[in-house]
């Protein structure tokens, strides 16, 4: 056998001894450094949820079914393991209580970890985070608020991919034409149930737009709002003026509410 052939045999033979690092190494290291992600099972408005969190905040929420599936999804999304724990840190518990159950308001920014998402999706989801409990906003409102008024469909896609439902209230984003719209965490029925659990009257919510009413104005303040805006709900029936569009409202001498900042949808549903 020639030296050359032998050398090839040797390098092939030695390379066959190459061993990969054990699968658990990453998890063990992150665990020792306190950098690992963990998850808890908590009660949610329409059934139990798995809530995963790391140092940067809550990173993934799904309706609790199979723990193995959830861990697998997490690993696929973030490239690192997640481990089940009995209790979340206090700050996470407070946020869950405030966002899911309207408990004590959590002060300061909500710790959600969105840094793996594209910028546009982050902007959309942070905007959705601002929609108050008990109120809804159309997709077109989110689009206008993030400075992309025509990107209604892109907003819809970003909201549909929300990795942190319930805490980031994508269920409070509805269609401009009054239909409830789709929902990633269980379809329209689940969306309706979550809104009802927050005290929304969803049939009332759908009734106004079905009759062509998008906004409500007050004939004393001459201000118009989205119907679920807390300011709209304070208008007594004697002073409530139904309005078909922001254009109509302006023509009739109303100005937009500074709290809910109502906008027309860019392509108004026929």
């Amino acid at each position: 056998m020639t030296t050359h052939t032998t050398d090839r045999m040797i390098s092939r033979g030695l390379a066959s001894l190459r061993q990969p690092a054990p699968a658990g190494l990453l998890g063990a290291v992150l665990g020792r450094l306190g950098l690992d992600d963990a998850y808890v099972r908590v009660e949610g408005p329409i059934g139990p949820l798995f809530v995963a969190f790391g140092r940067q905040g809550i990173s993934l929420i799904e309706r609790a079914r199979d723990a193995g599936d959830f861990e697998h999804t997490f690993q696929a999304m973030f490239g690192r393991p997640v481990r089940r724990v009995d209790r979340a840190p206090e700050v996470i518990e407070r946020v869950i209580d405030a966002r899911l159950w309207g408990g004590r308001t959590h002060s300061g920014p909500v710790p959600v970890d969105l840094h793996e998402l594209p910028d546009f999706e982050q902007q959309v989801l942070r905007k959705v985070l601002e929609i108050p409990r008990g109120e809804v906003r159309p997709y077109a409102w989110v689009a206008a608020e993030v400075g992309r008024p025509l990107a209604v469909r892109a907003v819809g896609n970003a909201v549909a991919r929300n990795p942190i439902p319930f805490v980031i209230p994508c269920h409070r984003v509805v269609r401009s034409d009054g239909r409830i719209g789709n929902y990633g965490a269980g379809g329209p029925t689940a969306k309706r149930a979550v809104l009802e659990a927050e005290g929304m009257d969803t049939s009332e919510m759908e009734r106004l737009p079905a009759a062509g009413v998008r906004f409500l104005g007050s004939d004393t303040t001459r201000i118009y709002c989205y119907p679920s805006c807390r300011n709209a709900r304070r208008i007594s029936s004697a002073h409530r003026v139904p309005l078909r569009s922001a254009d109509d409202a302006r023509r009739a001498g109303f100005r937009a509410c500074r709290v809910c900042r109502p906008v027309d949808a860019p392509f108004r549903a026929a």
């Binding site: 056998m1 032998t6 050398d7 033979g13 030695l14 066959s16 001894l17 450094l33």
Partner: protein, 193 residues
């Protein structure tokens, strides 16, 4: 390309260590584990050493100023740290090279049993030949040919001049070749009998 990826990782670690650190582990765990395994000889101890390396690496990186993190050459830096910690780990007890452990691999499910036996036998042979090398050459040959470190990385990991590392690898490989040839001749003789 290696440089580009490593440079990008360093920049991310300088900006946000906690967010980028898992990638450091993912990209370098095989290197660290293999260098450790070369020195300590068994998988369980090698894993302990590898954990310790990354934990210390994290603490060191957290202490370093950002401009220093940005220019780190990660592979040699981790390689050297691994070698030192692995040598500390075996201080006091003799490193025994477990040939069986070195040759053992989880198998792909579609391997047929006959191939399995052959491959395992071959690995056993190579592990035995490697273990038979003098200590001075064994680590250099293994890191170069088993673990795939470049000569430059090898020199930095071992903290020795490039020329001396190259010559160790060449001499070690020559000894290995001689041992392999001797083994083949012995086998041929057995078959002839």
């Amino acid at each position: 390309m290696e440089q580009g990826i490593a440079g990008e990782l360093c920049a991310r670690m300088a900006a946000d260590l906690d967010a980028a650190f898992p990638d450091l582990v993912v990209q370098h765990q095989h290197l660290v584990f293999r260098v450790a395994l070369r020195v300590v000889g068994d998988s369980a101890s090698a894993e302990d050493v590898a954990q310790e390396v990354f934990v210390r690496a994290y603490r060191t990186l957290a202490r370093y100023p950002a401009e220093r993190v940005r220019v780190l050459r990660l592979r040699p830096w981790l390689g050297r740290m691994t070698l030192n910690l692995a040598r500390n780990a075996i201080r006091g007890w003799r490193a025994t090279t477990d040939i069986g452990a070195l040759a053992h691999h989880p198998q792909a499910p579609d391997d047929n049993p006959l191939q399995l036996v052959t491959r395992d036998d071959e690995r056993r042979m190579w592990a035995r030949l490697l273990a038979g090398l003098p200590q001075r050459y064994r680590l250099a040959v293994a890191l170069r040919h088993v673990d795939g470190l470049s000569y430059a990385e090898l020199a930095e990991t071992l903290g020795r001049p490039l020329g001396s590392v190259k010559s160790d690898v060449h001499r070690g490989t020559a000894l290995l070749r001689a041992a392999y040839d001797a083994e083949q001749r012995a086998l041929a003789r057995q078959e002839a009998v």
